[in-house]
């Protein structure tokens, strides 16, 4: 090789140019080195550029996107420049009495599910799912979260409840994770009637899989929040890969007299979409905690519930609500009779774009005019190889960019916002915007014609494009991410940021906070 060539004793006088073979050999080696560099340098550079810093603020993430509206700049809340913005922890209710007062104690432990199996995970007040919280619309809820011994800390996020930002429960964004021995008090008014759930948003993927969640039901004003047999919460969850409903390892039996009408609040606490169906006719009363107008009976079709999403199904006893492997069994045909066997899943799926009473989306029906948006954002989900935090992989992209170089959707309070969510990544993504409900305008360019379809968790399959709209009416710093909780770790997370809002909290390896 080169060195031996140079060391050749018979190479002529010391200062003479080396003979042609040596030059050729040298040139070839040089070309090989340059070619290797050309191949490897971009890879090494993009790896080095992706190395995470030990602590970061969400306000510094990505690049501002003002959606074509009046330009807005993120408030980085620089040290020593106090008073430049409203910190998220001032965006809370003033202190006062609460109508519903709950203490939840989080533990890492092994627990026995109703119906037999023992699972290792997390509990709230000794059970998983945690206790159901029920409130009447308009009541103030106070929840004291105590961490007994969950090593990495916990938080509680109120999924679907548009609470003040300071109570949103995202570690490193709206609060610090509650470490063992610590506590955090959440306070908010339950203004929306419907089905919701709460779950940890610290190391969320692991903690939600492990059972750190529970049901949250708000009943309409003038009704009673006392649990009744005609109102059933069906939190569907896979523990160690086996499906359970409401913490029962098997079917959930609901006593009901023949002919009685029962509301089953199907809540998907897992990381991928699931379906619910019944051999008997049923109605989809509500989606994501918002009532459907004029729900019609459904026969021979399943209802898709995306990860994090809810669908309230109304059945008449006796009936089985199938959830795929487990069911809610409402009443029994005859006492002592053999139970009805599971019904196979129907192929058709209820299309919520056209379900319910046809309603034009106007200021009268949805409270704002979605045809005159202040800002229009794109949230285009793709996929490409690259590095995130120094680890190579095939990662999700947002508008073509890899995390953390993702858009920061900038809004001003009162803006009407349209967002086009599209997916060409090859996999379904359950997209969840915190703190807001959006109304679906169209799918793949086909306008919505049914009841206004309000969502907080939207199933966006590969190849689909959704147009949604919402009013920016809840100032803060809000996550807008995929609720397949493994995906935010792989870069599928962006934020909605209000002008002038900042946060004192930070996340990253040097902090206890890891929201994903």
């Amino acid at each position: 090789m080169l060195e031996t060539d140079e060391a050749r004793p018979e190479g002529g006088p010391p200062l003479a140019p080396p003979p042609a073979p040596v030059r050729r050999s040298r040139r070839r080696t040089l070309v090989a080195v340059l070619a290797a560099l050309a191949v490897l340098a971009p890879i090494v550079w993009s790896w080095a550029a992706s190395l995470p810093s030990g602590t970061w603020s969400v306000t510094d993430m990505g690049y501002p996107d003002d959606g074509g509206g009046p330009p807005l700049m993120p408030d980085h809340g620089m040290a020593g420049m106090a008073g430049t913005g409203r910190p998220v922890d001032t965006l809370r209710l003033p202190d006062g009495p609460a109508d519903v007062d709950v203490t939840l104690v989080a533990r890492a432990q092994t627990v026995r599910l109703a119906g037999g199996r023992t699972v290792t995970g997390y509990t709230l007040n000794g059970t998983t799912p945690g206790p159901e919280i029920r409130a009447v619309q308009g009541q103030t809820v106070r929840v004291r979260l105590v961490n007994a011994d969950v090593p990495r800390g916990v938080t509680l996020h109120w999924h679907g409840l548009d609470v003040p930002n300071g109570d949103d429960g995202v570690a490193g964004v709206t609060q610090d994770a509650v470490l063992p021995g610590g506590q955090f008090v959440y306070r908010f008014r339950a203004d929306q009637a419907g089905s919701f759930w709460y779950h940890s948003h610290q190391v969320a993927d692991d903690q939600v899989r492990g059972g750190l969640f529970g049901s949250f039901v708000v009943v309409p004003r003038g009704t009673s929040a006392v649990p009744s047999a005609s109102d059933v919460s069906a939190l569907v969850h896979l523990y160690d890969g086996r499906r359970t409903v409401a913490g029962v390892d098997g079917d959930l039996a609901v006593p009901a007299a023949p002919g009685s009408v029962v509301r089953v609040r199907v809540t998907n606490t897992d990381t991928g979409p699931m379906r619910a169906w019944s051999a008997s006719p049923y109605r989809v009363l509500a989606v994501d905690g918002t009532d459907v107008r004029g729900p019609t009976p459904v026969t021979g079709a399943a209802t898709q519930v995306t990860a994090g999403g809810r669908a309230d199904l109304e059945v008449t006893a006796p009936a089985r609500v199938e959830l795929g492997g487990v069911a809610v069994v409402v009443g029994n045909p005859r006492p002592g009779a053999a139970p009805t066997p599971p019904a196979p899943p129907p192929t058709p799926v209820v299309d919520l774009l056209h379900y319910g009473t046809p309603t034009p989306l106007t200021p009268v029906t949805v409270g704002f005019d979605p045809t005159v948006p202040t800002r229009v954002f794109d949230y285009a989900i793709g996929r490409r190889p690259g590095f995130v935090d120094g680890v190579p992989g095939l990662y999700w992209t947002i508008n073509g960019h890899l995390y953390p170089d993702v858009p920061m959707f900038m809004v001003r309070e009162g803006d009407v916002v349209r967002m086009r969510i599209s997916n060409t990544s090859g996999e379904v993504h359950p997209m969840h915007l915190h703190g807001h409900h959006a109304v679906v305008l169209a799918r793949d360019g086909v306008p919505a014609t049914g009841s206004p379809w309000w969502i907080d968790s939207l199933d966006v399959p590969d190849g689909a494009t959704y147009d949604v709209a919402f009013v920016a009416d809840n100032p803060g710093l809000w996550m807008d991410h995929c609720h397949n909780l493994a995906h935010p770790k792989q870069g599928l997370v962006a934020h909605l940021m209000y002008e002038g809002v900042t946060t004192p909290y930070r996340a990253g390896a040097d902090t206890p906070n890891d929201p994903e």
């Binding site: 896979l238 890969g241 086996r242 990381t271 991928g272 699931m274 090859g426 190849g463």
Partner: protein, 157 residues
């Protein structure tokens, strides 16, 4: 460098075999699991807890195919610049190109399942290309390793 080239090329061929074995194991395991009452939907697919004989095959196929195989292909390509024998760069380049196409097919077949047919075909193309590359590198030592066999400087120096 020729020895390294040869090892990487055979490794790449071996990886194709591993990929085929892993996915076959997984598919049979999955169908058996469903026969015995397992219910597969997206939520189940995304849960870490799905457990049956063969589920590891999916993980191996995905991780191996998206990470290890591309790394081997890339290393083979880089090493080919230094492995001086006729066709070294061309065969390594072809193998690397086949790897890229194969990974892309593996990704896009999730949107267009019929691309899976090509995914199966390109696997065999990659196997053959990798084997040819390995054989080429282990043929009679070529004069290229030192100097071209023809021309004014054909004489060994």
């Amino acid at each position: 460098m020729r020895a390294t080239y040869r090892v990487l090329a055979y490794l790449l061929a071996l990886e194709v075999v591993v990929q085929a074995a892993a996915i076959a194991w997984a598919v049979f395991g999955l169908s058996t699991w469903i026969e015995n009452g397992g219910v597969l939907d997206k939520a189940q697919m995304e849960s870490d807890g799905t457990a049956f004989d063969g589920v590891l095959g999916f993980a191996v196929h995905g991780l191996n195919g998206q990470m290890i195989v591309p790394v081997i292909g890339l290393l083979l390509f880089v090493v080919s610049f230094f492995a001086r024998f006729p066709g070294a760069v061309a065969w390594a380049g072809a193998a690397f190109a086949a790897v890229i196409v194969q990974v892309a097919l593996g990704i896009f077949a999730h949107s267009v399942p019929s691309l899976g047919i090509l995914h199966g075909v390109v696997a065999l193309v990659l196997l053959v290309v990798a084997l040819v590359a390995a054989r080429k590198s282990s043929g009679a030592p070529s004069a290229m390793d030192d100097e071209p066999a023809t021309g004014a400087h054909a004489a060994k120096v």
